[in-house]
Amino acid sequence: MKWAALLAILLCGCPDMGVPDNVVGVLGLWTDPNDLSAPRGALHKADNIVIQRPGVAETRRGFTTWATALGGAVNRLIDWKDTVLAHYGASTLAKIVGGVKTNLDTAITPPSGHRVRFQEMGGSLYMTTEAGVKKLDLVTSSAGAVLAGGPKAVGGYGSPTGSTGFLTALRSVAYRVVWTLRDGNDRFVTGAPSHRIVVRNEAVASSDAGQTSRAGTTVTVNTAAAHGLSNGDVVYVDSDDANFPAGNVTVTVTDPDTFTYTQAGSATSSTVAISFAYATRNASVTVPIPHLVSLKAGSYDYFAEVFRAEQTQDEDGVPSDELYKVYEYLPNAADRSAGSFTFTDTTPELALGEPLYTSPSQEGLEAANEPLPVAKDLAAFGRSMWYANTARVPRLLLQFNATPSVGTVYGLSASRLEADDFEMVIAGLTLTAAASENIPLTQFQVFTAGTASQNIENTARSFVKVLNANAVASGLLAQYVSGPDDSPGRVLIERNIDTELGVVFETESFQLVAVYGNGARVLSPVPPQFRQAVGASTTRVGSTVTVTTSDAHGYVVGQQVALVVDPGDADPNFPAGLKTIATTPSSTTFTYTEAGNAATLANDFHYFRDTHLGGIAETEVRKNGWYYSKSDEPESVPLENAFFPGNPDKQLLRSVRLGTSLFGFKEGKGEGLWRATGTGPENFDVNQVDPTCELIGPDTVAELDGTLFALTRKGVVRVTESGLVVDSKVEPTLGLVLTDLLTLFAAALSEVKSYAHAVAYETEGLYVLWLPTAAGVTTAGQAYVYSVKAKAWTKWTRAAHSALIHPTEDKLYLGLSNGNVSQERKARAASDHQDESGAAIAVDMEWAPFTGGTPGALKHWREVAFQLQDATGLTGFNATFATEVSTSQETQAVTVEAADGPVRVGIPEDKLRSSRLTVGLERSVAQEKVSVAGFTVLFNGPTSQRVTK
C-alpha cells in the first residue's frame, strides 16, 4: 500500500484503527483553529503545493510566458470562440493568437470601481463598459465593439404629398420608425420606436361664404389663398352646404385663386365656407438618422423600418398605434451625411406589412427596446441576458401646458444647476420660440392658428424637431410622446446614448432652464426662469439696486432670486449671489438692497433666476437594478423587465448562473444572496435566499463541482443550486484559512474588493482564489487554493492580475500586472515544475506543531522520516525544525535516493527536546517535484517528570 493511502486511511478514514501517534500526514493549510484542535497533518504553511490526491502534497505546476508586454496590466482574460481575449491597461481589448496580440477595441473602459465583465450569448460577446454595454460579434472583426442594443429612433415628421395616393381626404395615419442592426451573427437587433409621426390629408384650400357658386353645371371656387391645385386633380369638397354637397370632384384650374368643377345643381352661391382637400394623397416622411448609425454604418448594417397605421375612419379620428410595415431603408452615405432621409409612402392599405413589435396586438409600447441600461455586471440565464447594478440614461418628461410666447428662450445645460451656481450655465443648446421654424437658428415654431390642443401639439413637435436636429451637439434627443389617449404637448428629452461620447452615466445629468420670456410658466415641471438685466437701466443709488429686466419678471416682494453672471462679463459693482426682492415698481423692474458704489451695470450679461431647481434630469442609478432581456434577445430590454432586490443603495455586485438558478450577490449587511428562477420573462421570479452571505470580492465567484464558490464576509462559501449557502460551519474545511482571510480583510479590505479574483479549475478540482497581499498593493500577489477532492487548502506565492481556464486546452492562463500573459506548463513531466524563464518554484511546507499527543509535556525527539511518494526526479530537500523551546528555524539538507519511501532526517541539537516539534520541508529547484505524504516522528517521552536518585 502506498504511503499516502495508508496515511490517509490512518488520519481520516478508519476510526477503529486509530492513528499511530507518530504519523503525520498532509491535510493542507490549517490557519484558523488553534493548534491543539488541528489534526496531525495540518499545515501552517503550504506554499506552492497542491493537494489533489488526498494526503499527498505535490509541487504546483509552473507557468511559461505566453504573451509579453500587452501594454498594461492584464485585467481580464476571456476565452471566446476558441480565442483568448485580454482586456488590458485602461481600456483595450485584444485577441491573442500564438502569443501575439491584436487590439480589437481601445475604448473598453470598465465601469467605475469594477472590472469589465464579459458574457457570451447568441454568438456575440457582451461586455460592461463605462459608457454602456458593448458587444463584439466576430473575433475577426476589425470594426471594434459597438454599443449593444438597437439604436433608438429619433423623432421624425411627415406631411401629405402629391395629388393622389393612399390617404383619403381629411384622414390621418400615424407612423413610427425603428432602427435595426443586423449583427455579425445575422441576428437582428431592433431598438425602441420613434414617437408617432402623424400625417393628415388636410384641406389645401378654402373658400369663404359666397365664394363658391354654380352656373349651370359648373361650380366656380374662389379660394381665400392660392390653392396650389392642378387641372385634373381630384379634390374632396368638405362642405356643409347642401347646394354644394361633399364629395370628390375633378378640378379645372382657372388661376392660382380660382378653379372649377362640374356638378349639377341649382345656380346659387355658398352660404358657408367650404374646404377642399385632395381626395387622396401619399405621405412624405422624414426620418432622422441616429448618430450611432451614422457613426457605425460603414462597419455595421443598420437599417430603418417604417410602420404605419391604417388611416382613420373619419376626419376627427386619431390614428391607432397598431402599425404595419411600409418601408425599409438602408441609409446611404449621403443620407448619413445629411442626418436624415425622406421617403414617400405610397403603400395602399391592402399592402401593409408585418406589425410593429410595440403594436397593441403585439408586445405593446411598454415592451419597447429602450437603450440598454448601463450595467456593471451581466449574466446569461433563462434565455435572457441579465444586467445588474444599472444606470438608465437621464430622462426629462416635459409637459407643454400652453404655447410659449414668441421670443421665449430655453436653455438645455449639459450639467445640472446647483443652488450655489452663480455663474452663467447656459452652455448647451438654446431653443428660441419663433413665429416660424428655423433649424439652423434653433428656432421652433409657436403655432397659433389651430385649437389650443393643436397649437400645443404642433409647437411641442416643432420643439422636438429642432432639438433633434441638434442632437449631436447637445447630446440629447427628444420624442413627442403624447399618444392617442394622452393630453397633447408631452415631450421626453433624454441623454442620447447613441453619441458614444464616453459618457459616465452614473454622474450624468442635464437641465432645462428658461432663459427668457415666459418659458417657465408654460411647462411642468417648472424649470428655473432667468431674467436678463438690462445693463443701462440697472443702477445702484445708495444701497438700493434697481434692476430693469428685458421682459416681465413676475417677481414678488420678499422672493429670493439668484444673480448669475458670465465670469467673463462680471461687474464688480453687481456681484453674483442671492438677492431678496425689496420692491417691484413695475412688471419689468424690481429693487434689492445691497451696499456698494453708485454705479450702472456695465453690460447685459447678468441674469436673475428663480432659486428652485426643477427640470433636472439625472441618470437613474439603480444599484440594485437587475434588468433582464426578452427571451433570446439579449439586447432587447424593456424598462419594465426588471427586479430591484433589496436596499437600493447597495450594489448588486455579481450575477452568476448555476443550473436553473441565477444568483445575485449584493453588498451590505442584510442584503446577501438573491436568487432568480424561472424559464423566461413570463415567469422570472426573484427571492432572497441568505441575507448573511455578503460578497467581498465580486470577481471571486466561480462555479466548481456543481456549486458556486465565493469570497464573503464569512470567508469562502459554497452556494448550491437550491440556494443553500455552505459556509465553514457546514463544511469546516472551507474555514481552515479563515484567520488568514479575516486578517487580510482587516488590513486591506479595499484592495481585496478591487483585486481579488478566482477561477475554478474543474478538471483539477481546484478553486484558485487570488488575493492581494497587503494594503496599498495594486494586484493579487498570492493565491489560496482549495481542492474539492482533498478538501484541503494550499497557497501559491505567485501573483496574477487575472486568470482563465482555457476550456479546450484545459490550461490555466494568468494575466499579469506587467502586461504579460503566462500559460500553465502541463506536459505532465518534471519540466512542468518551473516558472517563467525556468525559475524555481519555492515549495515551503510547515506542519502544525507535533505534540505526540501530550502538548504540555516535554519530549525527546529522536528522528523524523519524511514519507515520499512518486517524487521522481527529486534529488533533495531541506527539512526544517523549530520548537517552542528553540523557536528559530533550523534547516537540515537532505539527499533523496528514492522516489518513494521514508527519508530519515536527524533533528538539530537545539530542537531535540520540547513539548511541540514544528517540522517543515523546503525545496526550490526547477524541474523537481516534491511529492510527500507526510512524516513520522520517533521520540521518547513525555520525559518531563522530575527524577530523583
Binding site: 525527546h860 523551546v885 520540547s914 527524577v947
Partner: protein
C-alpha cells in the same frame, strides 16, 4: 589543535543529554556551564585529587611580618584547606609548624619570637607565637580551585580575551578582538594557558589602563610584571574564570558526561536517558582512570576507591 574550550565542552554536553540551547528548559549555555563548573569543582576535582598525583597543587608564600600572626588561607584553596603550614627561614630551610588547639594557648609562652605552631581561625592561619622579626616566609601548600567555566567567546559580547601579543617591558598585552564588556580597570584578571595543562599563569592581576584606540585590538597594561610563561594564544579572563576546564583533556568527557547526568536529572527530567547517562559515566570512569593513574607510570599503582564518586 583540538578544541579544548568550553565550546567543545558544551557541544559534548548537549550531545550526551540531547539538551537544546534553551533557557526555557534550563539548558542554555550559561546554565550548562554553571552546572559543569559545579561538576568540575566537585566530582572531577575530587576524582583528580583522589589520584594523589599533584593535580591542582600550588604553593602560597607570604612574608611573616613582625607583630602579625594571622594570615589568610589562599582564597582559591579547595575547601579552604591547606596541605601544610611551613615557615621558610632566612637560610632557606623549611620547618613545619605544629597545629595547636587554641584552648591550649593560655598555657603556652606567648612571647613574640619565631613561630613554632599554628591554628586555624575562620579563613586564616594564625601562627604562634606572634612573629617578632622579619626575614621568614610563611608557606602554605594547597589545592587550587579551577576557574569557573565561561564561554570561550571573545569580542565585546564575549567572556574572555585571547592574547595576540605582549610586551613584557611595557607590561602590556594586546587582544585579538575588542575587549569583552566589563573588562575594565576595576576588575582583577587571570591569565590561563590555552594548551593542555591549562595552567593559571597569573592570578588576580591589576590592570592600570585599557587602551582602545584600536578597538579591535585593545591593549591592557598591568601593574605587575607579566608572567614569564605568558604567550600569545593564552586567555585573559576575569579572576577565577576560565574558558577551558583546567583539567587534563581526557577528563573533559567525564566532565561533560557528569554534567549531562546533572542536566538529565535536573532541568530535562528524562528518567530513561538519565539511567543511560549514568551508565555511560560509570563506563567512562572505568575506562579513563587506569591510563591517568599513576601519572608516573614508574611509580607503584595506587588503589583507587571506585566508589569515591557517585555515591553508589
Amino acid at each position: 589543535m583540538p578544541d579544548f574550550t568550553t565550546t567543545a565542552l558544551l557541544a559534548s554536553i548537549r550531545r550526551r543529554a540531547s539538551a537544546p540551547n534553551a533557557s526555557r528548559l534550563g539548558t542554555s549555555s550559561d546554565v550548562l556551564l554553571a552546572m559543569a563548573t559545579e561538576e568540575l569543582w566537585g566530582e572531577v576535582s575530587a576524582l583528580l585529587r583522589g589520584l594523589r598525583a599533584g593535580f591542582f597543587r600550588t604553593d602560597y608564600s607570604v612574608a611573616l611580618a613582625s607583630g602579625t600572626s594571622e594570615y589568610p588561607v589562599p582564597p582559591r584553596a579547595i575547601a579552604g584547606a591547606v596541605g601544610d603550614v611551613l615557615v621558610v627561614g632566612a637560610d632557606g630551610k623549611e620547618r613545619s609548624l605544629d597545629e595547636v588547639d587554641p584552648s591550649q594557648l593560655p598555657e603556652l609562652d606567648s612571647t613574640p619570637g619565631r613561630p613554632w605552631a599554628y591554628y586555624f581561625q575562620d579563613d586564616a592561619v594564625v601562627v604562634f607565637p606572634e612573629p617578632s622579626g622579619s626575614g621568614e616566609t610563611l608557606k602554605l601548600p594547597y589545592f587550587r580551585r579551577c576557574g569557573a567555566l565561561v564561554e570561550a567567546s571573545t569580542g565585546s559580547s564575549g567572556k574572555v580575551g585571547v592574547i595576540a601579543s605582549l610586551n613584557a617591558g611595557a607590561k602590556t598585552v594586546t587582544l585579538t578582538a575588542a575587549q569583552p564588556t566589563g573588562f575594565t580597570t576595576a576588575q582583577r584578571y587571570d591569565f590561563i594557558g590555552h594548551t593542555p595543562g591549562f595552567k593559571t599563569l597569573g592570578m588576580d592581576l591589576v590592570v592600570t589602563n585599557v587602551d582602545v584606540s584600536t578597538p579591535a585590538a585593545p591593549v591592557f597594561t598591568f601593574q605587575a610584571d607579566l608572567p614569564a610563561a605568558l604567550a600569545a594564544g593564552n586567555y585573559l579572563c576575569l579572576a577565577q574564570e576560565s574558558p577551558v576546564p583546567q583539567v587534563p583533556p581526557e577528563f573533559h568527557q567525564i566532565l561533560a558526561q557528569a554534567t549531562a547526568v546533572k542536566c538529565l536529572s535536573g532541568p530535562l527530567g528524562d528518567r530513561q536517558a538519565l539511567a543511560e547517562a549514568k551508565d555511560e559515566l560509570k563506563r567512562l570512569k572505568a575506562e579513563l582512570l587506569p591510563p591517568v593513574e599513576p601519572r608516573n607510570e614508574g611509580e607503584p599503582e595506587v588503589l583507587v576507591n571506585p566508589y569515591f564518586f557517585g555515591g553508589e
